[in-house]
Structure formats: structure tokens, C-alpha cells
Symmetry: C2
DNA sequence: GTTATTTGTACGTTATATCGTCCTAAATAA
DNA sequence: TTATTTAGGACGATATAACGTACAAATAAC
């Protein structure tokens, strides 16, 4: 996922050029210094909410138009580029492959659990569901006071808005894919 | 119009309380310091775009949900509270009564022009239209190389995406109401 | 009632967003 | 060409966003 301020940068510049405005002109229209507009466009600055508002209002464009990412056809995410999150002294590792996005409303993780590794999660937001598939090793998962043991190829889906925990009770590395779905509010 | 960071503040706090989360919890979910979350909620801080993104993503709420202003039934704007914009050495004064909003897509001004006062405006964004009504005095307006003289009670509408200018050629103060409409992009 | 734990705020420090001025290169005019 | 404007970026100063720690009040545990 491209950094949000770079998306903003590109959108702002595109709008400015489409309207054939100079930095100076945009500066006047928005009440934001020319320098700042320039820095934002170059992705050197992550503007403040009030600045964002001034720009949107000054340019008469929607807030959304400035932060919208035109979905590219294809996006490749290499494991080596994903910032890994560690729990349980590094025995439980989370790789966020695809972060949450408000349109799709789910996120996708890969998780590795070393022998004996474990994680207890409190419930997520109400309505949340998890979809897990095991790709290697064995997974013991406890939710609603039920224990389930899954082996490679097995899957489970459950309401994740309550406490639950994952454990590798086997004797090899466990790998699994996890998709978390957050239904729309209201 | 309430300041944007106060709207954000209220929305954030409302969401947090609805989910029954502590500042600490929100901090963890979003990767933003507890202190910062607190300051934002109290309206003491105007968060950075990256911080806004972290909050939206961490809370799994839309960007829009955070900046949405539930339109109140009624809003009173007193002239004395409007920051006046002066041109032509103070002889041309602009009062922004209602600023641009992306849903309604227009803004409403009141303008006062002293005797002899004048303003030349370059064209606004393409498609823009102006709706003017004179409430006192006399207005001379030039657009598309045409001159129009309006007296109290008269109105004019014209495409404002080209240069135009206003002038008080009479001998009393001119007052007028102006609505500028910016059609949706595309 | 006392002790812990949790929750929100105050404070001091650092990072950085924002502004104004100056500078360089390109575009336009003379 | 030379002069003049314009457009974008560099630099230094200031305001403030963001962080970590410490504190006070409230809540929970005993």
C-alpha cells in the first residue's frame, strides 16, 4: 500500500495541473503558503487536517478526491517488504499482506507460529469475522470455550468479536492465512 | 462553519465511546500515542494526514466518518463573526456567509462596495456560475465584454469561468448577495 | 476503607508542518 | 539578444504535532 501522503501528493498535483494553476495561485486560493503546497506535492510533508481542509475548500474539490487511490490492476507485495509484527517473544509472527481498506472492508494476514507459540486475542470490533486456513503444521484455536484443532488444508470461520486464542500445539512450524472482515457500521 | 478539527474531535470521541475503547486501546490499535489521541479528541490538535490515516485504518472506519458533520437543522451566522476580506484598499469587502461544501457545491457571499470601489476577477474554475442580486446601491458588472448595470432588486446570472469585473459607479454604498456554484467534476 | 488498576490529562522534549524570504531556471516580452 | 516576469525549489525561523513519562482522579479489587 502506497503511503497516504504520496497519494495525496499525486492527486493534488494532478488537480492543479488539470486546472492549470501555479503553486502561487493555489496558495492564494487556499490560504496556504506556496512553499507548503510545493512540499506536499513533492510528498515531503504530511499536511495537517486544517491544511487539508483549506486545500479541499479552496480548490472546491471533495476531501475524497484528494485521498483517492485509483486502484491499479495489479499489486505485488513481497514478503521481505512486509513489516513483521511479533508476539509471544517472536514465536508468533504476523505479516500484514493487505491492510484494511474502507471499500473492501477486510484485511489479509499471513501468520507463522513456532512450536509452542501462542496468542490470546480479545474480541475485535462488533460483527467482525475471521476466516482462517492452515497451510502448514497444526493450529489449535479456542473460541466460545470450544477447542478446534486444524491441520494443513483445514479452515475455520468464526465471529471474532469475542476473545479467542491461537496455539501451535504441534511439533513443527505452523503457517496460516487469515482474513478479517469488518462489516460496515450501522 | 465549525472548525474541521473540532468536527473530527467529536466524531473520533463518539466512535471511541461507541466501541467502548479507552484512549490507551485506541492508541494501540492505531499506532498513535495515547497523548495524541487525547489531544485530538479535545480539539487541541489538528492531526497530520498520516495520523488521520492511522486512526481511520486502525479503527476500521471510513475517512469520511471522521470528518462528517451531521448537518444541524439550523445554523446562525452573525455578520460580526464573519472574517471580512478586503480588496481595493478596503473599498471592496467580501463576507463569506456560507463557505463551499462538497455536497451542496456552492458558496454564499455578501459583498459591499464603497463609492468608486472595484474588483477585477479572473475566471474561476471551469463551469462555475455566479448568481448576484443587488440589495442596495448600483452595480456595474462587465463580463464577456458586455456591461450590465443593476439597481437594487435586480439580479444577474453568468458563467464565471472567465474574467469579469464589478464596479460601484453610483454614489452610494452598494450591497449585494452572491452565490457561486461549482458544478461537480467530470 | 484501603490498595491496585485503569483512565484521562499535564509536562517537557523532539520531530516536523508551516511560513516568509531569497534564489535559480525557464518563459515571455521588449 | 537583453530585460522582465513567472514558476518552482532552497533555506532558516517559528509554530505546533507527536511522543514518552509522570501525575491525579476515578474505578475496581480486596
Amino acid at each position: 500500500m502506497e503511503e497516504i501522503h504520496l497519494i495525496f501528493a499525486r492527486n493534488l498535483k494532478a488537480i492543479r495541473e488539470k486546472e492549470k494553476l501555479s503553486l502561487e495561485k493555489v496558495s492564494q486560493l487556499c490560504g496556504v503558503s506556496k512553499t507548503m503546497i510545493g512540499q506536499i506535492e513533492r510528498g515531503e510533508s504530511s499536511p495537517t487536517l486544517t491544511t487539508i481542509w483549506k486545500i479541499a475548500t479552496g480548490l472546491k474539490v471533495s476531501f475524497t478526491a484528494l485521498i483517492h487511490q485509483p486502484q491499479s490492476e495489479t499489486e505485488v507485495v513481497l514478503k521481505k517488504d512486509i513489516p513483521v509484527l511479533s508476539e509471544d517473544n517472536g514465536k508468533y509472527r504476523v505479516y500484514p499482506n493487505f491492510p484494511f481498506q474502507e471499500d473492501s472492508r477486510f484485511e489479509i494476514y499471513t501468520i507463522e507460529i513456532d512450536q509452542g507459540g501462542q496468542l490470546s486475542a480479545e474480541g475485535h470490533k462488533e460483527g467482525t469475522e475471521e476466516f482462517i486456513t492452515v497451510f502448514a503444521g497444526e493450529l489449535m484455536i479456542c473460541v466460545n470455550d470450544h477447542n478446534y484443532t486444524l491441520k494443513s488444508g483445514d479452515s475455520i470461520r468464526f465471529k471474532a468479536d469475542r476473545p479467542h486464542d491461537y496455539r501451535n500445539a504441534g511439533d513443527t512450524l505452523t503457517k496460516l492465512g487469515m482474513t478479517i472482515y469488518y462489516p460496515n457500521e450501522r
